[in-house]
């Protein structure tokens, strides 16, 4: 009974939230974007969760596991569906190169620096756990979300080269971080392999690539004939549910597997114009429910070690996004300069980062996982809060100067 009440409450909040919160007047004020990004629902989930009012108790959350998995799959599918090769080919190849180099640099910088710091902060923990957490934070920090630029598009009067380049980079960069997670979770699989690590890891990696590819083809066959909107939604829900469920069943990241499903389907189908409105109409309520559940799952803790990690992560993200830009510009022979200021467009990490955090938590039930979740979620909240200000000063200045 309590569970049904909890679901009813979630649905009600999702409905009201999608009606009001996302339709607020858009400004560059941090609080305005904070509501738009939906992060406020994570805190609502925290209040409704076990540490708060206990409406979403652990038993209820266990029963709602399929919904969490569906949420992850849905975000992955949405992200992958936007990666249409037709769209990506319109941009110069050096843009993809820049996106890759930027993500790689951030992953290496953060992983190495944090490993050193984690050894100092948690000396009693096994080294392999610290390696894992440092890499997870490196992958997490490399993620960017296009939602802030989408939000700000009406507020930016002059949309020049910098705006378009930033838009492209934030749309694509998530691929590297999420792909990195698939690589890690295949070879550093949990429960850990004792022998034949390379062979088993390679098998899992290939499975997490080919399984969604296969399901994507099936989905395409199902929708080859004229399909009603209702049928399309059932197929979409069923296949995303199934794919994310199978991924989670084998302890693989649902986010990556469903992203590949999204990429496959968007590049096969010819009914994108029918699918996009369907995805957009269902996106918000799903996302709100997902954020509330994440808040409820969050075993919130805060101490000086977490505070140090959050501050360092933010500093490293800013350094990693700004300083190497001049160097990348020279390597890739960019036609226009890439000043350090441009790196400030990439502070926001949005929904894809939150999905990454939960995907990691579901795979790795290890002693430091909850610390990772707290560090990553607090970093996301702070960066989402600061990012509108930073974006405003960066993009407006750059494009107007050019």
């Amino acid at each position: 009974m309590k569970a049904i009440f909890a679901i009813g409450l979630l649905v009600l909040i999702a409905f009201l939230g999608s009606q009001f919160f996302f339709k607020r007047k858009k400004t560059f004020l941090p609080l305005s974007y904070f509501f738009f990004s939906g992060l406020v629902y994570v805190f609502l989930g925290l209040v409704l969760g076990e540490k708060g009012l206990n409406v979403l108790s652990s038993e209820v959350l266990e029963g709602l596991n399929p919904l969490i998995s569906l949420g992850l799959g849905w975000i992955g599918f949405l992200f992958g569906f936007q990666l249409e090769f037709k769209y990506i080919r319109k941009f110069p190849q050096k843009y993809i190169g820049l996106s890759f180099l930027q993500s790689l640099f951030l992953i290496i910088l953060v992983s190495v620096s944090l490993f050193v710091l984690l050894r100092f902060l948690y000396p009693s923990r096994p080294v392999f756990l610290l390696y894992g957490m440092a890499v997870a934070l490196g992958l997490f920090i490399s993620l960017n979300s296009p939602s802030l630029l989408n939000y700000a598009s009406l507020l930016i009067p002059v949309k020049g080269d910098y705006y378009h380049l930033a838009r492209f980079l934030v749309s694509v960069s998530g691929f590297w971080g999420v792909g990195g997670m698939a690589l890690v979770s295949s070879f550093w699989h949990f429960p850990f392999f004792e022998d034949n690590v390379i062979l088993k890891g390679l098998t899992l990696l290939l499975a997490s690539l080919f399984f969604p590819l296969f399901i994507g083809y099936l989905f395409h066959f199902l929708t080859l004939r004229k399909t009603s909107e209702k049928d399309l939604l059932v197929y979409l829900l069923g296949l995303v549910f199934f794919t994310s469920g199978v991924a989670a069943y084998f302890n693989l990241p649902s986010l990556f597997v469903c992203m590949v499903l999204g990429i496959t389907y968007s590049n096969l189908t010819r009914i994108q114009e029918k699918i996009y409105p369907l995805l957009l109409s269902t996106e918000k309520p799903f996302y709100i429910i997902f954020l509330i559940l994440i808040g409820a799952l969050w075993d919130f803790s805060f101490d000086y070690k977490i505070a140090i990690l959050v501050v360092l992560l933010l500093v490293l993200k800013i350094i990693g996004s700004t300083l190497p830009l001049r160097f990348f510009e020279r390597i890739l022979h960019f036609s226009f300069p890439l000043p350090s200021l441009f790196g400030f467009c990439f502070l926001s990490s949005g929904g894809i980062a939150i999905a990454f955090i939960i995907s990691w938590k579901l795979i790795y039930q290890l002693p430091l996982t909850d610390v990772f979740v707290s560090v990553a979620l607090i970093t996301t909240v702070v960066s989402e809060f600061l990012s509108p200000w930073v974006l405003k000063s960066a993009i407006l200045r750059l494009d107007s100067e050019k």
């Binding site: 049904i4 199902l222 059932v234 199934f242 069943y249």
Partner: protein, 144 residues
Amino acid sequence: MNIVVLIVIFLLMFFLRSSFLVPFTNPGFSPTVAVGFTLIFAFLIGKKISRLKLPQITGFILAGIFCGPYVMKFLSGEDVSNLQLLDGLALSLIALTAGGEMRLAQLKRDSRAISSILLFQTAPHHRWIRCFWFSQSAHFSFFF
């Protein structure tokens, strides 16, 4: 085309539930796989059944029996009990949809026909079927 997808999905599920894969799995997510599979499988069966001029719900029930713990075991008894939350939610939604279809004025207009159907058709049928199941309960123990 749908029949091909139906067979492929079925074979895929058969493979995923094979015993040699069990050591690599996280049983906590078994209900999620089951929900995804059942959603697609039952929906496609329902579509096929509707071509035979039968209601889609017949197809859904047949798919449920076929995939459930007594035939193909794609959904274990534990999975089914773990999914009771969705069961409750689905029932509430069905009741809400059914309630939304009812018009009080129309009910008032047809009250005589409705009460006679309830009294002379539904109630006797209900009693006969209950008697039959109780007399045969030893053979169909899984229903009770």
